[in-house]
Amino acid sequence: MAAQHRIEQISTHLTIRPGTMFGSPVGQKSGEDIVVVSALRTAITRAKKGGFKDTLPEELLYHVLKATLDKTGIDPAIVEDIQVGNVLPEMGGAKAARMAQLHAGFPVTSSIATTNRQCASGLQAVAGIASAIKSGIIEVGIGAGVESMTHGYGPTGTVLSTESELLCQTPEAKDCLLPMGITSENVAQKFNVTREAQDRWAAQSQSRAAAAQKGGLFDKEIIPVTTTIIDPTTKEKRSITVTKDDGVRENTTVQVLGKLKPSFKPTGSTTAGNASQVSDGAAAVLLMKRSKAQALNLPIMGKLVSFATVGVPPNVMGIGPAYAIPVALQRAGITKDQVDVFEINEAFASQLVYSVEYLGLNHDKVNPKGGAIALGHPLGCTGARLVATLLTELERRKQKIGVVSMCMGTGMGAAAVFESE
């Protein structure tokens, strides 16, 4: 009947899904999309022991920014702004970041800011730059992340020197002061994540990372960094080139991990083996509108589809991904089954296992190249590092949709959806 037909036709004019927050929906392209042109990282090395133990965080940042310019061949002057996620540095890392930018060859006319959203800082920097491009504040920008836990980690970097009695009157505010390890124990206990399940995930993370490393799967995302290291015994300085993540332990098994003592409480289940490693590293993601990338004839790795941050109770902060991922998926207009690869930060196996189970994710799709338990978790770097790892892997697999997510101390989760091209 014509009338019914007309109603249906007009209804379709009004119910169609418009573009997502950053441009066209998944499966579609528009010149307005915010795309990733380059996503690179340094290797991640063990704090105080690895190849970057004598390299300052701003030097790591310099290397990854310089590599971004070298690899893409862009005119540095077109990069109007850079955001750098970092958590531990003095003065918010602002002064050091500016030095890194200028030394990398960016003109004084380009700007830089640092941002601290704890373990999501690197992803926040990417989303912040994408938002600035989307809103027309800038045309081209870099979202980066860096952390030298060699330099900033420890009591001064992780514990407040003063505690407000006033604020601690609110129990959840007081919970923000809990050590991260304790929040991991809380997650394990509250949601019955067994020690064995945690160790199993940790062992899997190690074996996947080892296999990926052997197969050269990180080679495209890692830039070689030549730096100086001081020999711990001879105290001699020498030059080295760091090209590999050094935290990977190929032969780790569930049995070996099972023998480790709990780190945070005697009856606990979180150990040095099933928690993320303390590390140094940097990553950078070059973003612009698709129309700009096409005009400059630059390759497009993928586009940012959506981004989300959510809050969760501080005493179980690790469950952040379980709550952030559904929001990001919804904003992207897709379901979890459409996602090919999830890169979820392994702060602790407890929270990772819980988040994966809660969301009902296919284990094969989560951290296929291993995660922070094997590779390390340089706090401010991680978000940008995961973007580089994700887009490289999606490209290799010739798959399309990926999600980056992580939890944050004090109880938050962040997630972003990317589409590879």
Binding site: A2, A3, I10, H13, L14, I16, P18, G19, S30, G136
Partner: protein, 320 residues
Amino acid sequence: MAAVMRYRTAGYNGYSIEYSPFFENRIACASAANFGIVGNGRLWVLGLGAGPEGIDVEKVYDTQDGLFDCAWSEVHENQIVTSSGDGSIKLWDVTLPDFPVRNWSEHTREVFAVKWNLVKKDTFISGSWDQTIKLWNPEVPQSLTTWQEHTHCIYQTAWSPTSGDIFASASGDHTLKVWDVRQPRSVQTVRAHNAEILALDWNKYHPNTLVTGSVDHSVKVWDLRFPDREAMVLLGHDYAVRRVKCSPHSGNIIASASYDMTMRIWDTAMGGNRLAHVHDQHTEFVLGVDMSMFFEGQVATCAWDEQINVIQIPGLSMKH
């Protein structure tokens, strides 16, 4: 801003509004009862500068089914063609009462577009939900040509302002097609949106430039020489864009009407979001908009709120 001239198309929801190319104070509105879903249609011929609110009715013509578009003849000052929900196309002589002087019933579904040739002024085209485009001459009882290539409803057509053989069509199949009346197939297909395209017009000053409006809320400017991507995206409408018109006076002024109840004026020469003006006095979907050929900056709109508004866009008349 000068006062808004208004007219209420009582009982009928406006679908299309068109300025006469002969008389600066004459406009026509194609409308339909019951929002065009079911019921009668009415063609309104209106005079500007008269009546209590600045617009007065000169003639009305009733039709069995809703009227969705109209186009004034470019050669006969008294004639206008309408397209209807029942597939019929009717030619009216506004000196005569009640009935049309011609009626064609070839389309099998709703005809959403009818456009008079701007150069070879003895022909016009129609675009229908039956997925065909037809070329007509008012003196010939059958269509001259029929093209079938779109795979979904055709919502709008537009003639080239400089070639009497070239026209374009916009469809629910997400494409914009360019046609030459001498060719049996389209000469160019542009996948212009990732959603149904409801609106289309041809820039009057740049022969390669067209403008589309879509269910995806966007207005896009196209340069046919670079069809792989749009030259410009104009964002701001909150719902589907139902009609776009390029200014007869300037190559960079575009008007768009939307289900978001606004009519917007865009200036593509401007920086930022290029939004020059928002007319938000309608209270329901705005479906029709047209720009006066004689008074630069004068714009007429019609909407589902049964209201016709004629406004002067601030700033636009100052240029000449």
